[in-house]
Structures are given as C-alpha cells and as structure tokens.
C-alpha cells in the first residue's frame, strides 16, 4: 500500500568520487559517483530535492569526536606523515585507514551530507533524506577503524536528537555497526540495532549478549548471523525484529545504514542477499512513515553497490525502475548483463539454518521484552507537595502504587543509582535520574494499541 509520494532529499558532492584510499584498497568512493550517474540516467534525479551539502566544520565534527583526533586528521598528509608516527598509532591510522590525499575533506563531505540530511528532517522539509556518501559506522570517538575516519552517523543522530526524543539506528551492513553502538551504548534516547556476520569476522563485536549498559541497557540489539544469509531468511529476521522494536521503542526518527557489502558477491562480504532482499529493508522501514535518514556504508564490489543504492533511491521516491540499466557514464562496468538486479550465488550455502534463525529470534524477542513502556505511575508522584523532607522521592509510596507486573521498571533502576558525590544518613538526595525518555503510557494507550494492531495488519499485508 502506498501513501502519497514522500518528499525525498538527496545529498551528493561531485568531488567525492575523486578521493582514493590507495592502491589495492577495497573502499572506493567512486562507487558513490556511479550511483549518482545511475540516479540521473534512470530519471530519478528529477524526482528528488537535490543538494550539494555544505561540508562539515571542525566544530561540527568534534561534537562527537575528540579535538586531538580530528586535528590530527586535518594536519597529517602523505608528505608530512613521518612526523606523525605516534599519533598514527594512537588513532589507528595508516593501515586499514591509510592517509590519503584530501582525507580530511573527504570526512567533511561525508559528515556534511549526513548533517544536512538530519537538519532537513528536523525542519520537517522532507520525509526521507539520503546521503550515500555517509554511513561510515566504524569510526570511534578518537580512532579510525574499518576504513572509517569520521562517524557521520553519530553526528547525524546527535543532530536529530535536537528535535526527536528517541532515534532508532538500524545497520544492515555485513559488519557490526560498532562505532554507532559504542557512541550510544549508555543512552536510552538512541536504540541501535545491527544485523551482521558474527564469528571470526571484523570487527569482533556484536554478540547477541551485548545489549547496552547503564541507562542504555537493552537499547542495543545485535543480530549475529552466519555466512550465506539469503533474502528469505533476512526478510524474516528483519521484519520480525523491527516490528517489535518499532512497537516498543516508538522512535520519532529512524536512521538506516544501507551497507551494501551484505550483497551476494561482495569482495569482503559473506552474505548472499540480492538487491531485492536488501531493498526490502528500506521498503519496510519506509512503511512506518517515520522520518527516515538513509546512509551508505560498506560495499566493495562497486558495480553492485551502485545497483543497490539506485534501487533504494527508487524505492524512496516510489518509482518503478526497469531491470535493464539505462546508458550511463559507467555503463561498461555492468557487464555482462547490464541489469539492475543481481542474483544470489548458487554455490554459497546458507549456514543460518531454520533452527538457528528460530533460536535467534527467540533470544532477540527476549532481549526486547526488557524494553518496557514506562509504567502508568508518574515518576514525580509528590511533586505538588510542599513537604520539603519528603521532596519527590518517597520510595515506599511509589512502590505501593507501582505495577507489580512490570519488573525492573525505570523506578527500580533509579532507586539503585547511588549519587556518588554525596553521602547521607537520613535524608535521601534528590535523584537526578528519575526522568525516563520512554514513551509514557497515558490515556492514549488504547489509541496506541489500536494503532499497533493496525500496523501489524498492514505489515502482514506487505509481506504477502
């Protein structure tokens, strides 16, 4: 079922394709240019709001990253590299993440696109915003990793948080989205969900048991998979999990990292998805009608990367595109068939057996059960009282009114938080952490339930 066409904004910079990581390096920014050429030649360009984004400034990038690290990225060049050897080791630059010509600019463009996209969604000028230059999910606060130097996704999410209470991050790259997960590991305003290959594979994180920490506990979800996952398996997992996540977390904005190394035949990947299977994830998240930010990511068989991303751009604008590729600037790259959609590798066994998938789903739903909607009791039950001693924190009173069926509620967690700066004997300190960002249950609860059931029906229709 389709709604009226969503307004889609698209961010691209003509310099981007000319950055080059180095001889033999699998990451090729050129793939974004190829994607752009397909978008133009399929006639999708005219259906988009097209922007050349302002590049991100040092201040914007250091909203997440440490000053030292970004200053280093800015200052190091292939000419002065020898005077930076200790910093290179400290910031993990030089091997997977080599120093290359224009590296800092490259980061500025990648981040600029994602920031511009997020700002667009914040101003409600678009329903979907796309930045194929972004999605570099491995970069850490003070460390480059997995071909990523600056984490445009974290920056975009921080921007979205200015206008959206809760933001959901979904990662369908074949590699675990560790950079984004780490950044928001202790936050309950951002939920990170990653589907990835796990087991003797980069980056080594993303275990099913990793669910977040502190306030962010249960706000990280990991779906570890084995080699050869196919369209059907992936669809089943994705829809089952995301349906539940959306119902429980109820984000106000969604960021979807569309790493294309989960496609069949990727130079570094080990999955067996087709463009259809990959695109289904975009289709599905679009159907929730929540502001959506699409970013790129991995993808090392560049003809397939561009196929995937142009197809997903078409999905965003509700356009059908022919399987015969249009003539474009890089037409000859698409031998031998010159088709849009790719086929799975027949010889690659799907090691994700039905039993494994069943078990995984059970565990995931178990993890998700811990994501409770806030109980009906207000967190400040005695806010109106003028009794200074009792203040807002009479534990016994709250316990009396608490819903016994809700275990480990936000209140229970808060009670156990020690305020390390103060010691007290009789008077309990005013706890700072009682506000929950969870959606508070309210009289609208029945309305929400009705909406959820309807969503459930719609999604059921969509899978048929």
């Amino acid at each position: 079922m389709s709604h009226s066409r969503p307004r889609v904004s698209y961010y691209y910079d003509g310099d981007f394709g000319n950055y080059y990581y180095g001889q033999g390096h699998p990451m090729k920014p050129h793939r974004v240019r190829m994607t752009h050429s397909l978008i133009v030649n399929y006639g999708l360009y005219r259906k988009l709001n097209v922007m050349r984004p302002a590049r991100a400034s040092f201040e914007e990038i250091t909203r997440y990253h440490s000053d030292d690290y970004i200053r280093f990225l800015k200052d190091v060049t292939s000419e002065n590299i020898t005077s930076f050897t200790d910093q290179m080791a400290r910031f993990s630059v030089g091997e997977d993440c080599p120093v290359f010509e224009g590296m800092y600019e490259f980061c500025q463009l990648s981040c600029g696109g994602s920031l511009a996209a997020a700002a667009k969604l914040n101003r409600k000028e678009a329903e979907i915003a796309i930045n194929w230059m972004g999605g570099l999910h491995h970069a850490k606060k003070s460390e480059a990793s997995g071909f990523c130097y600056s984490n445009d996704i974290v920056l975009a999410i921080l921007e979205l948080l200015k206008k959206h209470t809760r933001v959901l991050y979904i990662d369908i790259d074949v590699h675990h989205g560790d950079g984004v997960e780490e950044a928001f590991y202790s936050s309950d305003r951002v939920m990170t969900v990653s589907f990835h290959k796990h087991g003797e594979y980069f980056p080594g994180t993303g275990d099913l048991k990793d669910v977040g920490a502190g306030k962010g506990k249960y706000y990280a979800l990991n779906v570890p998979l084995r080699d050869g996952v196919d369209d059907a398996t992936y669809e089943r997992l994705f829809k089952t999990v995301m349906k539940e996540v959306m119902a429980r977390f109820q984000p106000e904005a969604v960021v979807l990292q569309c790493g294309a190394d989960s496609l069949a035949g990727d130079r570094l990947g080990v999955f067996n998805l087709t463009t259809y299977g990959h695109g289904k994830c975009v289709e599905y998240m679009k159907s929730f009608n929540v502001p959506l930010l699409l970013v790129g990511g991995g993808g090392y068989t560049i003809r397939n990367v561009s196929r995937c991303w142009v197809y997903e751009t078409a999905i965003a604008v509700n356009e059908e595109v022919a399987d015969d590729l249009p003539v474009n600037d890089y037409f000859e790259y698409f031998i031998p068939d010159y088709k849009l959609h790719i086929k799975p590798l027949a010889s690659l066994t799907n090691q994700n057996t039905p039993e494994f998938v069943d078990q995984t789903i059970v565990s995931l739903l178990e993890n998700l059960k811990n994501l409770e909607i806030a109980p009906s009791v207000q967190m400040h039950p005695l806010a109106t009282t003028s009794d200074e001693i009792v203040k807002t924190f009479d534990e016994r009173l709250i316990r009396d009114h608490a819903d016994d069926d809700v275990r480990n509620s936000q209140f229970d967690q808060d009670v156990r938080v020690e305020d390390g700066a103060e010691f007290y004997d009789e008077f309990e300190p005013e706890s700072k952490n009682t506000h929950s960002n969870k959606r508070h249950a309210s009289s609208r609860l029945n309305e929400e339930d009705a909406k959820k059931t309807k969503l459930g029906e719609e999604n059921h229709q969509a899978t048929i």
């Binding site: 961010y11 691209y12 910079d13 003509g14 310099d15 394709g17 000319n18 950055y19 080059y20 180095g22 001889q23 033999g24 390096h25 133009v40 030649n41 399929y42 360009y45 005219r46 709001n49 922007m51 050349r52 302002a54 997440y64 292939s78 091997e95 010509e101 224009g102 511009a116 914040n122 921080l158 948080l161 200015k162 950044a183 590991y185 936050s187 951002v190 087991g199 003797e200 980069f202 994180t205 275990d207 990793d210 920490a213 502190g214 130079r267 595109v321 015969d324 590729l325 249009p326 003539v327 037409f331 000859e332 031998i335 010159y338 590798l345 156990r416 938080v417 020690e418 506000h435 960002n437």
Partner: protein, 411 residues
Amino acid sequence: MDEEISRSSLTDEEDYVEDNDNGEDYEATIEEEEQLDAGDYADELKDLEDEGEMSLEELQRKYGYPVPGETNQCEDEDEEEEEEEEYVEEEQVESSSALKESFDATILDMGNSLTGLDEDDEDYAPPPDPWKRQIRIDAVQFQAAVPDVESSFAETDTEREEDTILWVIDQPNQPSDEILNVYLKDVVELRKAHEQSVPPEGCETRDDEDALCALYRNNFDTEKAKSSFPFPHINAPFRTVRPDALGFDEAEHRIFEESLELYGKDFSLIRRLRLPYRKVGELVEYYYQWKLTASYRTWREAHPQHASVVQPHLSAAFQQQIAQMDAEYHGPTSFATVSFTEPSTSSDNNYRTWREAHPQHASVVQPHLSAAFQQQIAQMDGEYNGPTSFATVSFTEPSTSSDNKSATVIN
C-alpha cells in the same frame, strides 16, 4: 560486610567507587562473567602458569610468607611485582598487535604477507576467541554526550553553512515531466550547436543536471533558462581537481599508461614523479574514465598481473566454488575482455555498433513517459541526421572526425 558498615563515614569516601551498572548483576552465567573480564583473563592464565613453575621459595615470597634465609623480603617482592607487571604489559601489547595483524589480513587485500608473530612467543597461550572485541565504556573516552530531552529541545539551531540547492520538486509552479522533456530536448540542441557533448541517441531526455539547475534558478521559466545558456557546470569537482584543468592529451595519456605499468595504481606517486602539475584527483578521475576505453583493454591484456584480486578471508571451500563457477562460465568476466560486438582494433566503432545491436538499452531511460511522447521522440530521431552519440563527438575541440582520438576525453 565491613565495607558497608564503614561506608557512611566520611573517611571511606575515597574507597567507594561508583559502579555504573546500577547495582545490577550482569554476570548471570560464567560465560557472561568471562566476557566482562575478557581483558584480565590472559593475566590470570599467565599468573597461574607462572605459579606452577615457581619454586616453593618464590611462591612463599610472593604471598608474603617468611622465607628462611631471606633478609630483604620487601624489596624482592616489589621487584618481582614490577617484573610481572612489565611482562603482562608486553603481553597485552603483543596480543593486541597480533589481533590487529589478523584483522588486517582478513580485511585488506594489499598483497602483503603477514609480518608474522613473534617467534619468542611459543609459550604464549592466546586468550579464547582472539577475534572477539568488546564495546568500551567510558563517558569521556568513548560514548557520545547525549543530553536529556529538555536540554536537547532547548538547544538553539546551529546555523550551518547553506547547502547548494540544485533541484527541487513539489513546488507550486513545478513543471510537468512533459514540459521538462521538451526543455531537455531543446537543451540538447543548444549543446549540439555549441559543440558540447550530448547524451547518446535516445537519451536526450536524461536528467541533465546543469540544465535542470538552470531551470530551477530561473524559477522554472524554460525560456529564461535557455537564454542563460551556456550553463555553469554545477556540482563539478573543484577541490580534488584544478577547475581550469585541461583534459589529458595524447602525450599525457601515454605517460599515464606507462606510469601505471611502472608504479601500479599509486596515483600519489605517479603525480609526484611523472605528472607533477596535476592533482591526484585528476589522475583518479581520468583513471575511472580510462577504464571504459579500448586502450584499457589492451593494457590489461598486456599486464595480467593487475587482474582482479581474490578474497583471502573466504574459506578454501568457497574459493573452490568460485573457481568452479569461473571454469564453467565462458562469457566475458571483466571489461578487459568484453568487446561490444566482436574484438576490434578501432575503439570508436565498438560502442556505436554495440548500441545498434542492443536497442533495449537505448530507450529505457524514461519508462514512465507516455507512449505518445515516446512516439514524438522517435519521430524527431527519424528526422535528425547529425551525430547522435558520444562515440562520434569529441569533447574538447570541434572535430569532423572522431576517429583521431584514441582516448575519450571527459570534461
């Protein structure tokens, strides 16, 4: 127990360390506990091993028991601790670099052999699952600072530098597809008249970015837009290339191919040694264009060592599968070997002949257009007799014959 009682006293303030787990028990199973302490695991193993090998006196010394004949007990203990600490540190550094090496090997296909693990480490027992990593938790070092909702919403919008708008949709005066296509065809005529490059036959209504931007900037007034021709090349690269850079001429093309042979795709090096007035981005840009030409094909055949690289991280079984598939498949596998019709020495004819042989790729550009409009296009094509594809038009100087150019130069 003693700790709890004394907690309320101020003197114990320094001893109290706030946990960030809200007092909850993470480690429900041994597995989980192991996971949490994965870093310390190696230390424990090493300590246990060492202790097994220590003499009785050493053990006694370590645990503070009086050893007969010992005078300076304390000093020795300290020394031993220091040594152990040093050893443990070395161990950790080595294990992390060993991890790094194994990661590099699985990710990067740079053709470098593994530098090899240190030979002295034969006795070293690796921790379980060396490929496993942990998410690091530290509010200052690793996590992002996420403000609470009130603070977030109270933040003033930072003024970003403005994005350059190139095209918009959903405007009240938005032109229809039909109007756009007529406009685009008109632009193609303008380009031809000015001997600029034009899209191939049947693709006249492709989304010409420059033309669309000009239209947007003239408030969708097609006449005004056309009168502003020639259009600036919007979204052109300007950081990675010099804006006034000329296309590669024959001499440069030769240098380029020779350099590739000598240095491989190290464009930084090639620039420095052979084409110093160029920017690296210009070489990269040229490289991706050059790959589409026939001279690339010839070059690849002459240099098989630059053939596509394998995926070392995949299992041997999978490699076998791929090899089998390759053996069974007899069609073209890379554009070094594909020819558009038959192998030909002339590059210029191939594309044209191929296009005639594969008409389905000509008219797929705008499948959404109405049949009537498609007919119009077909009619216009029937009437037109000039050059119709970029295989016949040169991009820089006006030329009657395109056969002179061996390499297509792209602006």
